[in-house]
Amino acid sequence: MPPTSTTTPPRADVAPAPAAAAPRPRGRRTWFPYLILIPALLLELLIHIVPMVTGFWMSFVELTKFFIRRWTDAPFAGLENYRIAVDVSTPVGQGLLTSFLVTVAFTLLVVSLSWAIGMAAAVALQRTFRGRAVFRTLFLVPYALPMYAAVITWNFMLQRDTGAVNHVLVDQLGILDEAPFWLIGDNAFVSVVVVAIWRMWPFAFLMFMAGLQSIPGELYEASALDGASPWQQWRRITLPQLNAVNSTMLLVMFLWVFNDFNTPYVLFGTAQPAAGDLISFHIYNASFLTWDFGTGSAMSVLLLLFLLAVSLGYLHLTQRKAKRDA
């Protein structure tokens, strides 16, 4: 899993934990927790915090190729980088906006479909039957497969003349007369969505499977006696019982998918089509291809702010809902 797209499932105690669950203070020996936190703190500082602060600073200076070698002397640019990034009347701002919208659509599709597929698979495997373990294992393979191996295989399958996808659609099923392109033009969006779902749904499946195990069987039996249909059971028991899993997982998947860099990077290479121009990849190109790290950093900061806002809003909503339900 790419670090660029990893995230932590926020547990309910992201806010100060309720008193009952609060760890008990160990009185005088308060130095001990600090001592054992030191390695984690140092690493976080070195790898995450200091580079982030540097990146934040970079977004306020004119860090083009003319200053990159003496980057500490780069002239202060104020909000100029941000202005360039959001000015939609210029190609740069327009490009960022388009990329943002593509990414929003991509994220909505990938998260919702992965959720649905993962749920369907978990429910289908809820009962014990012969061969259940085989399916369970098989469904986890895409998740375990190294990311580049998976995406490069898809890239091969999506080739126009030599790929398996067109072979099926055109030669075997005859649905289409002419072989479509999957990696350029508008279809590229479909491709990147399908590939991302292929990689993502097993995660949803895994989480749901774990969640389903903790639902007491009696609940189903009781409702079966009441004559509830399987659909009603799912609506009234399964879904509410999976609430906790759901709220965590949706946020995790949202952040992973929104930040996805690897899928477009491996799938499209240097020839990224506009329809598959996801935002992480877009910012990477904006920074490295044009040597404009100031504007690239400004774009990243904007992305970060957006993700923070969405995450906080989401946590706020789910916690309020949890309180209401309680």
Partner: protein, 279 residues
């Protein structure tokens, strides 16, 4: 409880469709790896007309795959090991003490996972270079640099997951240990760790997967000597040709151990995940 016909149809349809969805790429990977390059470059066929093991032989020569494999193995294993160790310590602190700064620590750790990698790629590189010029520790282009980077990437999630797991271990056990005169470290080693084994395995798997597939940082921070598989595999597309059959053969070879390991340990992973998320 009897299964209705509707349920059965649902089950059969879902499982068959998903099996095909999952299996097709795996099948294409495996069969393409067995085809000669000429066949791979002409139109696709499901069943190889000629089968050859040559790609599995040539792939070691086209690209120094063995070296990349070794690099990946060293970097990933070391990053996993240290990530788990550091995470255990931090999670222990967070789970068992209510110290000043605990809340901010956890919030910060959480938010680091939202950082877009592109934003701190260049700064991190510059910091590594400065560490080299100041302290003489070479982090750029070495496996050490990658290990430190990757272990931190998996740290936040690991700390959260483990803290959740440790929380679930009754505190009465700690107290019993204390009565027996165990130190804080003693309690961690003798009481908490054995009880948290599934959680630790889950964290280890997660850390391993994070490091094993990383592409962006590896492409900038490695040299020929320290290059990992994730970037190394790209080299099958050279100036002369795109060796599709070798790419997929190599992908297959590097996937098998990881997938096998993951599937063997999946039960732990499920258990560990749920401890952090479900409750």
């Amino acid at each position: 409880m009897r299964e209705t016909t509707g349920e059965k149809i649902f089950r059969v349809v879902v499982l068959s469709v998903l099996s095909v969805f999952v299996l097709v790429p795996l099948y294409v990977m495996a069969t393409t790896a067995l085809k000669p390059l000429g066949d791979v470059q002409s139109s696709f066929s499901w069943i190889p007309s000629r089968v050859t093991l040559a790609p599995f032989v040539q792939m070691w020569e086209t690209v120094p795959l063995a070296r990349y494999f070794l690099n990946s193995l060293i970097v990933t294993c070391a990053a996993t090991l240290f990530s788990v160790l550091v995470a255990i310590l931090a999670a222990y602190a967070v789970s068992r003490w209510r110290f000043r700064g605990r809340g901010p620590f956890m919030t910060t750790v959480l938010s680091t996972q939202m950082f877009p990698g592109v934003l701190f790629l260049l700064p991190l590189y510059l910091i590594f270079v400065n560490i080299d010029t100041t302290f003489g520790i070479t982090l750029v282009g070495t496996r050490l640099g990658l290990i430190i980077t990757y272990l931190t990437f998996s740290l936040p999630f690991s700390v959260w997951m483990l803290a959740g797991y440790f929380d679930g271990i009754p505190r009465e056990l700690d107290d019993a240990g204390k009565v027996d005169g165990a130190s804080n470290m003693g309690i961690l080693l003798r009481i908490i760790l054995p009880a948290a084994r599934p959680g630790i395995v889950a964290v280890a798997i997660y850390a391993f997967m994070t490091a094993w597939g990383e592409v962006l940082f590896a492409s900038v921070m490695t040299t020929e000597d320290s290059r990992t598989l994730a970037v190394g595999l790209r080299q099958y597309a050279t100036q002369t040709n795109v060796y599709w059959n070798q790419i997929l053969a190599a992908s297959l070879v590097v996937s098998v151990p990881v997938v096998a390991g993951f599937l063997l340990l999946q039960k732990n992973f499920v258990a560990g995940l749920t401890a952090g998320a479900v409750k």
